[in-house]
Amino acid sequence: MKHLLILGAGTSGTMMANHLRREISPEEWAITIVDKEETHYYQPGFLFVPFDIYKPKQVKKSIDKFIPKGVQLVREKIDRIDKDQNLVRLQNGREIAYDILIIATGTDIAPQEIEGMEGDHWHKDVFDFYTYTGSKNLRNKLKDWEGGKLVVHICEMPIKCPVAPLEFAFLADSFFIHKGMRDKVDITFVTPLDGAFTKPTASKELAYLLDEKNIHLVPNFNIERVDGEGKKIHDYGGKEVEYDLLVTVPTNMGDPMIERSGFGDDLNFVPTNKATLQTQVKENIFAIGDATNIPASKAGSVAHFEAEILTENILRYIRGEELKAHFDGHANCFIETGHGKALLIDFNYTHEPVTGSFPLPGVGPLRLLKETHMNHLGKLAFRWIYWNMLIKGKHIPLVSSEMSTAGKNYEEEAETSPTS
């Protein structure tokens, strides 16, 4: 009996368990999946919890609910991978040998990376919304916050769901208008990039959004430290921004387990072939989702497309065939803009987000890079799709893992810059 081991039972790991149990023979291959958590969180919902649009209980379910029959779930913290011995050591000392390993341990916030970010002020007037606890605590804070300077901030790229901070700023505008206190809140968006939008078409189409919502922009801000007492953030270039409430996205890093295993880049992301999803660590180790260093967006939709391709490549690897190099970086994300509207973007390694219709060329019903109510309904429907189709490894009709250019308005030749 051979053994396939999956590390992490989040979005990617759960999808892989479902795909592979259907595809490979249980007589020949045992499948095990390891995770330290008892709960599977719907992370896209963390954006809505602070504004009381979703209740905390709507964004979590028991982790074992989504692990298929025939796959063994081990609830334990992973200590490290010993790639030379082909085994994984757990925190309780148990060792699990494998023939094929899939790393799906995602990324988490690392507020300790920024001087002064943690401390007495953490989750009092400095918050994250990238964790369950952060989004819940922020909801409690916003319930009776009297207003002042709200600063929405990104520490450094890459972060998962790179549009979430901007969505947070838009939803905050909408939230305070509805509360009748928008005049008491000053919203500033602070980013290390040179704008809220950095791609040519999106910049052109969406430049109006910040002005329309009266959100100030501080670009090119590379944070050096948080002054929790003085309520200021400082950057390396000497700039400072004052806040009453700081909502920050701390540095995102891969799990420290990657570092303990002796591979990973300076942010603990696993060096991975961006087209085949085989790691550069060893040929029997594959990686998927937020844990990799590939230049695609770190998003659930990306992991969904990767899962279809990785499943095919694992089957090829088992049969001793050459891997297919066809992951194109496809991402498909809704962007909430507040007031019941959202944008939709669809792009890959080489094609920037543009306007057009989706998924049916010329028909839609969704509109790319335009604010519509239908797109907002799409974003809300994503939660149902996530729990009922996505993590169960079901194919989503009309949306293929390779991006389609049909129905999209490309002006020039595709550009080829890596995205975060």
């Binding site: 450094e156 790229m157 890459p158 790179p162 549009v163 290390p192 990039l193 040179d194 939008f197 950095t198 791609k199 040519p200 999106a202 969406l206 090119n220 590379n222 050096e224 390396y236 270039g237 540095t251 880049d265 300076d266 961006k274 260093n293 230049p295 967006s297 991402a331 994300c333 962007i335 973007i345 792009f347 987000p353 020039e412 030749e413 550009e415 810059s417 890596p418 995205t419 975060s420």
Partner: protein, 103 residues
Amino acid sequence: MIEKTYAGICVSCNEEGYLTDLSQWNRQIGTEIAKEEGIEMSDRHWEVVNYIQDQFKKEVPLTIRKIGKSGVVDIKEFYALFPEGPLKKASRISGIPKPVGCI
């Protein structure tokens, strides 16, 4: 796409003045772009440019932190060499695209 001439060589740039093809780049071109950014190139500048181009070729997305940990310069010196938006300016001088998000 725009054509621009640096050091007597015609190169393709995007609307913001970033080269679109690193293979068209050479040191004279880098020196002239640096002048447009108000920077006089020194050996230290070139060490940073070499590192940045090397990372770009390996498809490693660049961040201020990465450069700070590169062993080539620390973040303070990086700011001193390329004042204000150091990553943007250094990328442009190196002939690679500016760092971008997904939209």
